[in-house]
């Protein structure tokens, strides 16, 4: 399967993401730039983390209005898988590809640490490599990861199984509603998550719990 990574000025975990995808799939992803209006034929598009456009105005707000995001939305509408991690999640939310908003952490501080995630829906293209309710380790590193949605949206997300990752064992680092760490779109082909699975894929990272996510999305793993 082929993948693409979206590059925007100010993103800074692009190299981490490219390295992870390359190591896991054996093939370097193609990259697309902020002004590209056309994305090559790929099965997976990833928007990595960072501080696109300095996170000025609101996290992800300016990125969400760039031409390349329009192209991402078109691909998503056709069923191409899209993952947004950290700033990528914020961008997807600002672009309207996922519901809700990501607000300042309740601590008001940037937080970088390892948390526990519960896989609350292992029946998606991104999580089928895990078992239902499996607890995995995953690092977080963000200032604005506090997931918010109005009550209706929230109950719809919960009801439809769109919440796929939840902070577990009291490790919610940011005050997210319902301990939400990651959600998928209604059609299930767009995933947004604050934690960084790309930073936990090999021995040098001290674990590889994040690997199954990319293996699932790249079709390398279809069951746990």
């Amino acid at each position: 399967m082929k993948s693409a990574v979206v590059l925007l000025p100010g993103l800074n975990r692009d190299r981490d993401m490219i390295a992870a995808l390359t190591k896991i799939s054996g093939k370097a992803p193609v990259t697309v730039w902020q002004t590209d209006t056309d994305i090559p034929d790929v099965d997976l598009i990833v928007i990595p983390g960072g501080f696109s456009y300095g996170d000025y105005l609101r996290c992800g707000a300016i990125a969400a209005r760039m031409p390349v995001l329009k192209a991402v939305a078109e691909k998503a509408a056709k069923g191409v898988q899209v993952i947004g991690v950290c700033n990528g999640f914020q961008i997807l939310v600002e672009a309207g590809l996922l519901p809700g908003a990501l607000m300042r952490n309740t601590s008001l501080k940037f937080v970088c640490r390892e948390v526990k995630l519960q896989v609350t829906n292992a029946n998606t293209a991104f999580t089928r490599g895990y078992t239902q309710n499996q607890i995995i380790r995953c690092p977080v590193a963000h200032h604005d990861g506090n997931y918010f949605a109005d009550t209706d949206t929230l109950s719809r997300l919960e009801g439809e199984g769109q919440v796929v990752f939840r902070y577990a064992e009291g490790t919610n680092p940011n005050g997210s509603l319902n301990d939400i760490a990651g959600i998928v779109s209604k059609d299930g082909n767009v995933l947004g998550m604050m934690p960084h699975p790309e930073n936990l894929i090999e021995a040098a990272h001290g674990g590889s719990d994040g690997r199954a996510l990319f293996e699932s999305a790249l079709g390398l793993k279809t069951a746990a």
Binding site: P9, R15, Y56, K109, F110, V111, A141
Partner: protein, 745 residues
């Protein structure tokens, strides 16, 4: 109001520029006429302490700066050291003390931005950062505000830029009440055949300005960094620069792309005294003149004068000399990243520094003299008075378990998690050891086994008690921390923070500390390849503790064999490698004496450099052979604290014996130097262990087997056992409680 160039030069104005009458006379002699207002500003920027090192140069020259692996020593934006396979590490540490006291968030942020720029200006992609921070007493009314601002500023910039912070220091002492220290370190990786320097080459070539626009921020910043504080400090706020990590990240990518295109002849970042320092440096180093046309400088404020433009310290700006045939390609790269790009001048063959503004020549100075002819002082200094050692029987007592808990839960030894969790420590995916251990370790991207270790160290209270030994100790501890990961220490950067050098006793501290640093660096083959001096850290006549921070870099050949500080398994033997007969003996200047008994008398523990090297080389060998399972250096707080740190890092306890018929206090809390705790996975009855003992004997290294790992508590000799969970609670509790204002002052 715009400042014009025809301001009359009065004695008062000269003084306001930090120039002494004899210095001004020197300017008159050099120029042969009265300088213009802009010229006065240029001289003041080039000749202040921060840029010219006029008080320290004589002594800095005595430091060892060369070595087999050193590619570039001091004098460029950063030092460069060969790590093999065509790769090199580029690094430096620099202070941003004064600005951080005035505006902690922006001061710290721009400090981080400045040091990152120093590194990528040389062609390196930054891969690691550290920050050595010193604050005033925890109960001082400004301290919490400063800690909070500095930490979020460091994080705000570094996290956004995208470099992992892998180490650093945070300490408190009332002597920093009026002058905090923010020493920022950065390291990057480059190819040895693609290092970029500031030396301009070729006459008539375009001098190109790129990066952010120029504003009035920081006008006179370098002059401020060379002045003492007084009660009017609040008035100095307007000179604070504001950092923009987003622009800097774009600048990094653009610079690296531009360098790869082959367009860059010379490059210099605009740091202190911005356009002035960078242009003079490029010209003077290349034996060329520089002509600048200020009308072409991108500005973001209206009606800026030549004086303001030349002294602005707006951040995220670079000056380059480019190959003319590549100009278009270069411009396209900068447009892609949304950065300003302008040809603002040219190189000339007349060795003049000429500034044009609105059709007028506002400055015309001899470029070489601006740097080379800066005043250099041999300031009078006095030999520090040696402290008398403590009497043999002067061993103030305390319950060992209680004392340990108090130390672990105190300001200086408690966990810094509150701080480093605000820094991105994992970005780039190469962090093998994050803050909290002996040194930060980052693997070398593109290489299967290699990694770099980083550590930043100094013990200011030792330096205060004996600057020479303190200087030695700072180097030795850094070297030791690198060694404890299994790294071979390669080279170091020094960031020398002192008070007012015009006072002979302060100058004496500086001189002796540099001598101590030099002696240790020579003995340990650990050259100084870059550095920075920050003087006048004084408020109302009270200087800071002398604080020569040492930032070191080491090379690990195979990170699979690197050592960590947490106990690795239960039932392993613990050796105290490099111990004196009584394991620990030296209590004077220990944290135990200071925090348990309020005593700061006596000399610091001496460093025996030959012993240090012998023990370190041996420990590194143990790590690389794979027999050592965990390693930790013994420093602040002594053996008891080091053991507790190993236990807390793993959750595994330990039982440690106690020598008979003697006092456990110096054993557990003495701060003797050159010691490591090493755990082994080895059969004590087996041949390998006997061979090890024989080798230790032959080398003359005492490495007593002091106890074993296991259980969930730490038991030190006869003292009551403390659950590791209780150690952790004490250790983790102090910082969050302090910052929440929950500690009784």
């Amino acid at each position: 109001m715009t400042i014009q160039n025809d301001v009359p030069i009065t004695a008062e104005l000269i003084k306001a520029h930090g120039l002494k009458p004899d210095e001004y006379q020197r300017i008159l002699d050099l120029v042969g006429r009265e300088p213009t207002f802009t010229e006065l500003g240029i001289f003041s920027a080039m000749w202040n302490e921060h840029c010219s090192y006029k008080s320290s140069k004589k002594w800095l020259k005595t430091l060892p700066t060369r070595g087999e692996r050193v590619i570039q020593g001091p004098g460029e934006n950063a030092g460069v050291v060969d790590i093999g396979d065509g790769d090199c590490v580029v690094f430096k540490m620099e202070s941003h003390n004064h600005p951080s006291y005035i505006e902690p968030y922006q001061g710290a942020a721009t400090g981080v931005g400045g040091i990152l720029r120093d590194v990528f200006t040389m062609g390196a992609r930054p891969v690691a950062a550290m920050n050595a921070l010193r604050f005033g007493a925890p109960d001082h009314p400004k301290t919490r505000h400063l800690v909070s601002g500095v930490v979020s500023g460091v994080g705000g910039y570094g996290n956004s830029f995208g470099v992992p912070t892998v180490g650093g220091e945070v300490n408190f002492d009332p002597r920093y009440n009026g002058n905090i220290l923010v020493n920022a370190f950065a390291a990057g990786l480059a190819k040895t055949d693609a290092i970029f320097l500031s030396e301009a080459k070729g006459v008539g070539l375009p001098v190109v300005y790129l990066g952010a626009k120029t504003g009035r921020d920081g006008v006179g910043g370098a002059t401020m960094a060379s002045a003492e504080f007084d009660d009017k400090i609040e008035e100095k706020r307007p000179t604070v620069q504001v950092g923009d990590p987003f622009t800097e990240k774009c600048l990094l990518e653009a610079c690296l792309e531009l360098m790869a295109s082959g367009a860059v002849i010379a490059i210099q970042d605009m740091g202190a005294a911005g356009l002035t320092c960078s242009a003079v440096e490029m010209g003077a180093k290349g034996d060329l003149g520089i002509e600048l046309d200020l009308d072409r400088v991108p500005v973001r404020e209206e009606r800026m004068s030549a004086y303001e433009m030349m002294l602005s310290e707006s951040q995220e700006r670079m000056l380059m000399v480019l190959k003319p045939e590549k100009e278009e390609e270069a411009e396209a790269i900068f447009r892609k990243w949304g950065l300003d790009f302008a040809i603002v001048g040219k190189t000339t063959d007349d060795l003049r520094f000429r500034i044009l503004h609105q059709g007028q020549e506002v400055a015309n100075l001899p470029i070489k003299d601006l740097g080379d002819q800066a005043p250099e002082y041999d300031r009078p200094w006095t030999e520090p008075t040696p402290r008398a050692p403590l009497a043999k029987d002067d061993i103030p007592q305390a319950d060992v378990a209680d004392a340990l808990l108090k130390l672990l839960g105190g300001p200086d030894l408690s966990s810094r998690r509150w701080v480093w969790e605000q820094y991105d420590t994992m970005i780039q995916g190469n962090s093998l050891q994050r803050p909290g251990g002996d040194g930060g370790v980052v693997r070398v991207e593109g290489h299967d086994t290699k990694a770099l270790a980083f550590s930043s160290d100094v013990t200011p209270r030792y330096c205060e008690a004996d600057p020479f030994e303190g200087g030695k100790q700072a180097v030795a501890e850094c070297w030791r921390n690198l060694t404890a990961t299994g790294a071979l220490p390669l080279a170091a950067t020094d960031n020398l923070n002192f008070g007012n050098p015009e006072r002979p006793e302060i100058m004496g501290q500086l001189v002796k500390a540099i001598q101590g640093i030099g002696e240790a660096c020579r003995a340990l083959d650990f050259p100084i390849v870059s550095g920075n001096v920050s003087l006048y850290n004084e408020t109302n006549g009270q200087g800071i503790l002398p604080t020569p921070t040492i930032g070191g870099v080491g090379l690990i050949d195979d990170w699979a064999k690197m050592a960590r500080s947490g106990f690795a398994a239960e039932g392993e033997m613990i050796l105290l490698v490099g111990a004196p007969d009584w394991w620990g003996t030296h209590l004077a200047q220990s944290i135990y004496m200071r925090d348990l008994h309020g005593r700061t008398d006596g000399p610091p523990p001496p460093v025996d450099l030959a012993h240090e090297r012998k023990v370190g080389d041996y420990v590194r060998k143990l790590i690389r052979s794979g027999v050592a399972t965990a390693v930790h250096d013994v420093s602040d707080g002594g053996l008891g604290v080091a053991l507790a740190e190993m236990a807390m890092a793993s959750g595994i306890g330990a039982t440690v014996n106690q020598l008979n018929n003697g006092d456990p206090i110096p054993q557990f809390f003495g701060e003797d130097q050159g010691r490591y705790l090493v755990t082994l996975n080895i059969d004590p009855q087996g041949e390998d262990f006997n061979a090890m003992l024989a080798e230790q004997k032959q080398l003359g290294i005492f490495a007593p087997w002091i106890g074993s790992t296991g259980g969930t508590a730490l038991k030190l000799g006869e003292a009551r056992a403390i659950a590791v969970a209780d150690l952790k609670a004490a250790h983790e509790g102090w910082f969050p409680a302090f910052m929440a204002g929950e500690l009784a002052s």
